[in-house]
């Protein structure tokens, strides 16, 4: 155990030295911005800072952006912190995990306030007040829509569960939401998923091409779809014991399910590798400047 600790400590030290040396010699991990005036107002020009490639750092109005540079380094350390979980649970990972959960929760709260409460609820109930405060772009003369008092009331009832007494009041809006959502989805699922998927399975088993010759692969593909659906249905049909012919067909259904799960697993592996590749590219390119696939630092 002590040997392992020594190994990791040495690795961290070497990594730190490499980073410090590279930052001093190459200047990696720096973000540059260009100031652009996008509007002139009475109070002065409105300036927008646009990110530019490091190769343009000597151009006019281009300067080092400390907030973006710090953000990039924080992102790099957060990536390493989360990745460190493969070595086992550790304080660095725990810290990054907590930051991620906290930031996500705060982001959702802010997005919910501005996009849900302000944009939908308050805008409909008190449009004049919203126009004078949070939504100056709102068109003039909008009338209050008092039907929105119903969702406001239900929201208050929902929050009642936090009160020491009368938590049962929250069950009424909850029951409404569950019922409304079920009804809302039922029709669409029946129409678009259930009926349409049956329709999608009704295929010609013998397919002809445009010049009326026999299409072997098309016929094979359609037959496979139809047989696959039938075998899958037999497997999930439990009113008859899975013995004899039915048992054989059900076994075929199991094989098809296994192939589907295998394909799903394969796709998942591909997805996870794509995510790892994205993070490594960020570390190698944006942070360490070891590679330059998009030619952002040409001539440097």
């Amino acid at each position: 155990m002590e040997r392992e600790k020594l190994f990791w400590t040495a690795l961290m030290l070497l990594g730190g030295l490499f980073l410090a040396g590279r930052a001093a010699m190459v200047g990696n991990g720096r973000v540059y911005v260009q100031a652009e005036t996008i509007a002139e107002t009475d109070a002065g020009p409105v300036v927008h800072h646009r990110g530019v490639p490091p190769s343009q750092r000597s151009e006019a109005n281009v300067s080092l952006s400390w907030p973006r540079t710090i953000g990039l380094w924080v992102a790099a350390f957060c990536t390493l912190g989360i990745m460190s979980f493969v070595l086992g649970d550790n304080p660095f990972y725990k810290l990054m995990e907590s930051i991620f959960v906290g930031v996500s929760a705060a982001y959702l709260m802010v997005a919910g306030f501005w996009d849900e409460l302000v944009q939908n609820l308050f805008k409909s109930i008190v449009p004049g007040l919203m126009r004078n405060s949070f939504l100056p772009g709102l068109e003039e003369g909008l009338q209050p829509d008092l039907t929105y008092l119903a969702p406001l009331l239900m929201s208050i009832m929902m929050l009642w569960r936090l009160a020491p007494k009368g938590a049962w009041i929250a069950r009424w809006p909850l029951a409404f939401f569950i019922g409304a959502t079920a009804g809302f989805r039922l029709v669409s699922y029946l129409e678009s998923d259930f009926v349409q998927q049956i329709n999608n399975t009704i295929l010609p088993l013998i397919v002809y091409t445009a010049d009326e010759s026999f299409d072997v692969w098309g016929s094979l593909r359609n037959s496979l779809v139809v047989v696959g659906v039938l075998l899958g249905l037999v497997y999930f049909f439990f009113s008859v014991p899975h013995r004899g012919v039915v048992g054989g067909l059900a076994r075929g259904g199991v094989w098809l399910l296994m192939i589907t799960f295998g394909a799903s697993f394969g796709y998942t592996v591909m997805g996870r590798i794509a995510l790892l590749a994205d993070r490594l590219q960020f570390l190698f390119d944006d942070w360490l400047w070891l590679i330059d696939p998009t030619m952002q630092r040409m001539g440097m």
């Binding site: 772009g137 678009s192 999608n200 591909m270 590798i273 490594l280």
Partner: protein, 283 residues
């Protein structure tokens, strides 16, 4: 050897995968792609539309899926811009707005002749999961009254006359989960017969393929689909070959190839160890 493999610390396997992904990225390995009929159908659905068609760009993903979906979203945006289609960007994911913004930045950087409000518009995030689809498909203004900066839809040339999503010539959806492609199929494309193509994460792909071709015109499955799509785009528009950003998905296929070979080798080795162990009575 058997004992070594049987007791191998899993961290060596993590290191092996890390190297399999890192080496091709470092050396910039790329391989040619052969586009599948599925990917061709997505490409042609956008390409065969008359120039200046109205396309709804529903980008329903967040930074957690950007490694898989950013390249295909950028490729969709590039193809629509090259075809001068009118692009209506929207997301149903709260963390989706920065993803859309990066596509808007791409348009400003690579297609400066396009004008905001005339050629593309950012309608931002709409809360309520599938609710906004259900509303916008019949009455756009009941769920979206203004763009992301608060400009009224009535004040922009490309949105002033649009009443609902049924007026769109195509829906392009990039999906990382719920709400995403399935919801667009259920509430927009199937009931109102709106042509729809999609690109999704690998996890979702097997569950969305059954919608092709009758409910979805085509589907790009994960980074592989994106790479094939980029290949088609580079073939059709040679001017993009000078742009290294237009090869993002193709670059990601190098790590995929090597990592998949390592995983296949590990599965074979793992099975050999299992069978040897069983023959020795260790299992």
């Amino acid at each position: 050897m058997y004992q070594f493999l049987k007791t191998l610390d899993r961290r060596w396997i993590f290191l092996l995968i890390l190297l399999a992904v890192a080496i091709p990225i470092y050396w910039g390995w790329q391989f040619p792609e052969r586009p599948s009929p599925m990917v061709r159908s997505v490409f042609e659905a956008i390409e065969n539309l008359p120039d200046g068609s109205h396309v709804w760009m529903a980008y329903d993903y967040d930074p957690g899926a950007q490694g898989e979906l950013h390249p295909m979203a950028f490729a969709f945006t590039r193809q629509c811009a090259l075809k001068h289609h009118k692009m209506y960007f929207m997301t149903l994911w709260p963390q989706g707005p920065p993803m859309i913004q990066e596509n808007i930045d791409l348009l400003k950087r690579e297609f400066p002749d396009l004008t905001y409000g005339e050629d593309y518009v950012n309608l931002g995030y709409r809360p309520g999961y599938e609710g906004p689809i259900k509303l916008a498909v019949t009455d756009l203004r009941s769920t979206i009254a203004a763009d992301v900066d608060g400009t009224s839809l009535d004040d922009m040339p490309m949105t002033a006359d649009v009443k609902n999503i049924q007026e769109m010539d195509l829906i392009i959806n990039t999906s990382a989960g719920y709400p995403g492609t399935k919801e667009w199929v259920l509430y927009a494309s199937t009931p109102y017969n709106i042509p729809t193509v999609a690109g999704c994460t690998g996890v979702q792909s097997p569950y969305l393929y059954p919608y092709v071709p009758r409910q979805l015109n085509g589907l790009l499955g994960a980074i592989k689909g994106a790479a094939e799509y980029e290949f088609l785009l580079l073939e059709a528009y040679p001017e993009l070959r000078e742009n290294p950003n237009a090869r993002e998905a193709l670059r990601r296929m190098g790590p995929q190839l090597l990592a998949h070979l390592v995983i296949i080798a590990l599965i074979i080795v793992g099975n050999i160890v299992y069978f040897v162990g069983r023959s020795r009575g260790d299992m």
